[in-house]
Amino acid sequence: MKYLHIFNFEVKRSYKIFIWWTIAWVLMILMLLPFYNTFSTQGQEFAQVYQSLPDAFKVAFNLNELSLSTISGYINTELMELLELFSCFFGLYLGSRSIQKEINNKSILFLLSKPVSRTKIFLAKVDSIFLLSVASNAILMLFLGFGVIFFTDADAPVKYLAYSFVVLMLMFTLYYALGILLGVIKDGGTIAIGAIVIIVTFMFNIMSKISDSADFLKYLTPYHYLDLGPVVSGQSIAIENIFFILIIALGLFVLGFRVFTNRDIDT
C-alpha cells in the first residue's frame, strides 16, 4: 500500500514532463507524415541520389532505396533514429533526476523518515517512470500508426512500429538505469557523464559500420543490438539481442539499487 502511495506520488510528479515529451513528438510526426507521399513517388530518384553517396555513409545511416520510398524506411530515417537518440537522453535525464536530485536537495529525508523501506522507494520511483514511458511510447506508436493511415497512402507498418516500441523502451530503460546508477554514485555531473556514454556508443555504431577495422566496436554499442534497419527491410531484431540489452539494463538497475540501499545519506 505504501509502495502504491509513493508510486502515485511519483507518477503525479513526472506525468507533465511525459505529456510535453509526447506532444513534442506528436507534432514532429504531424510535420513529417504529410510529406511521405511526395517522397514515395520519387523513390527511383532518391535511389539514384543515394547511389552517389559514399558506401560507408549509406551503411552508417541506414540509407538505401527503402529509406524514403517505403513508409517504414521513411519513418526510420526521418523520425525514429532521432527519437531513439533523444529517448536515450530523456531516460538518462529522468534517471539521474529521480534519486540524485532528491538526495542533493535532501527531500529524500522525508521518505527515509517514514515507515517505508529504501527498496519500496526505489521500486516505486523506477516503476512510475517505466509506466509513464510505456504509456508515452505506446501513444506515439499508435499515433504514428493512425497518422500513416490518415496522412499517407500507405498501410500502417505494424511490425515496424511494434519493433520500434520495443527498441524505444529498451533504449529509454537502459539509459534510465544508467542515470539512476550514476545518480546514486555521484552527487553531480551525472548527465554530463551519461551524455558522453550516449554519444560515444552512438559514434561506435557509426564507426563500426564505416570502417572494417572498427567493426569490433559494434559489440560495445546498444544501437547495434537494437538496429531497426533490418526491420525496415522486412527482417527482425534477434530476440537474443533484446534479452542482452534487457539484461544489461537490469544489471544497471540492480547495481543502482544496491548502491542506493547501502549508501549513507547525511544532512
Binding site: 509513493i6 527531500s107 517514514k114 515507515p115
Partner: protein, 294 residues
C-alpha cells in the same frame, strides 16, 4: 512498552580528524526531553543520522522502542512510532504544506483527523502555500508538524529552532513541551543553550565526536550554586565577604563583583547588615556552565 525509548551503545562513525561520532552511549527514558548540545561539527547530526539509520555506523548498537536495530530493514519496524526532523531539507519544495501532511499521513498509514490543520492554525502557518514560498521559520513548522503528525512515541529533532526568530522559536518549543507532556520522549539537538535549559530535562554534550557530559539540567544548573552580583560594593563589605567565601568564588567584572555561592543566606546577611541594596541574584545558566567547553 520498554522503559528505555532509545538506547545507544558505543555507536561510532569515524570520519577521521576528530570528525564523526565515537563511542556514543546513552539511553532515553519515557517522557524525557533530552538536549543534545555541542559545537558545530561535534557529531550531533552524525549521531542522530546513525540512530535513524540514514548512515551506517562503523560499530556499536542501537535499540529504538525496544527493537534492536542491526541494519536498515530493522528500523522500518519502529518508524511508525518515531518522528524525525532533519537539520535541513526533508521537505518537497514544490508541494504545499497540506500536500506534504497528506502524503505523510498516507505513508504512516493513518487516517486524516484534521490534527495538522489544528496545529497549523496554532502556529499561524498557511498550509496552502508551496514550501518554496515559505520563510525558514514556516518551513521548520511544516517539518515539525510532519514529524509529529502520527503522534510518535519518540521524536528526534535535529536543530529544530536554528535560524529562527525568538517568537517562532518559542512556538516550536511550546509544541515540543506539549508533545512531551503526553509521556512521549524528545531528543533534540541545539546550539542554543538557553533554549535547551528552558525545555530539556537532561543535557548530553558532545565535543570532538565524543560525549563529555550527560546529566539532568537542574543538577548542572545547581552544581555551581547561584551568582550574586554586587554593584560597586564598599571595601568593608568585600572584606567581610572574603572572610566567608574563598577567593575563587569572588570575581570582578567591570564595576560588578560576582560571587558564586552554594548558600545565599550568609552573604545576604552581610549585605542586609550594611543595608547594601545594589545587588541582584542570578541563577547560573547552561550557557555559563558550558561556554568554556565550546
Amino acid at each position: 512498552m520498554a522503559d528505555s525509548f532509545l538506547e545507544v551503545k558505543n555507536l561510532t562513525k569515524n570520519y577521521g580528524n576528530g570528525k564523526g561520532a565515537i563511542d556514543i552511549s546513552f539511553s532515553l527514558n519515557s517522557g524525557e526531553i533530552v538536549g543534545f548540545v555541542g559545537p558545530n561539527g561535534a557529531g550531533k547530526s552524525t549521531t542522530m543520522e546513525m540512530i535513524m539509520s540514514l548512515i551506517n555506523p562503523d560499530r556499536g548498537s542501537r535499540k529504538i522502542l525496544g527493537e534492536e536495530i542491526n541494519d536498515r530493514s530493522d528500523i522500518q519496524k519502529v518508524m511508525s512510532r518515531v518522528g524525525y526532523l532533519a537539520a535541513e531539507g526533508g521537505l518537497y519544495e514544490d508541494l504545499t504544506g497540506k500536500q506534504i501532511f497528506n502524503y505523510a499521513e498516507k505513508l504512516y498509514g493513518i487516517e486524516s483527523n484534521g490534527e495538522f490543520e489544528k496545529l497549523a492554525t496554532e502556529l499561524q502557518l498557511d498550509i496552502n502555500k508551496k514550501v518554496k514560498a515559505l520563510s525558514l521559520g514556516n518551513k521548520k513548522k511544516v517539518g515539525i508538524i510532519q514529524a509529529i503528525i502520527h503522534q510518535p512515541d519518540l521524536l528526534i529533532l535535529d536543530e529544530p529552532t536554528s535560524g529562527l526568530d525568538p517568537l517562532i522559536q518559542q512556538q516550536i518549543l511550546n509544541i515540543i513541551k506539549d508533545f512531551s507532556s503526553k509521556g512521549r520522549t524528545v531528543f533534540l539537538s541545539s546550539h542554543n543553550l538557553a533554549e535547551v535549559q528552558s525545555v530539556c530535562d537532561r543535557v548530553i554534550m558532545i565535543k570532538d565526536a565524543k560525549i563529555i557530559f550527560d546529566d539532568k539540567t537542574e543538577s548542572i544548573i545547581n552544581e555551581n550554586g547561584k551568582e550574586i552580583r554586587l554593584i560597586n560594593p564598599p571595601k568593608i563589605i568585600l572584606d567581610r565577604i572574603r572572610n566567608v567565601l574563598q577567593d575563587e568564588s569572588i570575581k570582578e567584572s567591570g564595576t560588578e563583583i560576582v560571587l558564586t555561592v552554594k548558600r545565599l543566606h550568609p552573604i545576604l546577611k552581610i549585605l542586609m547588615e550594611y543595608e547594601f541594596e545594589d545587588f541582584y541574584i542570578e541563577k547560573p545558566s547552561l550557557e555559563k556552565r558550558f561556554i568554556n567547553l565550546y
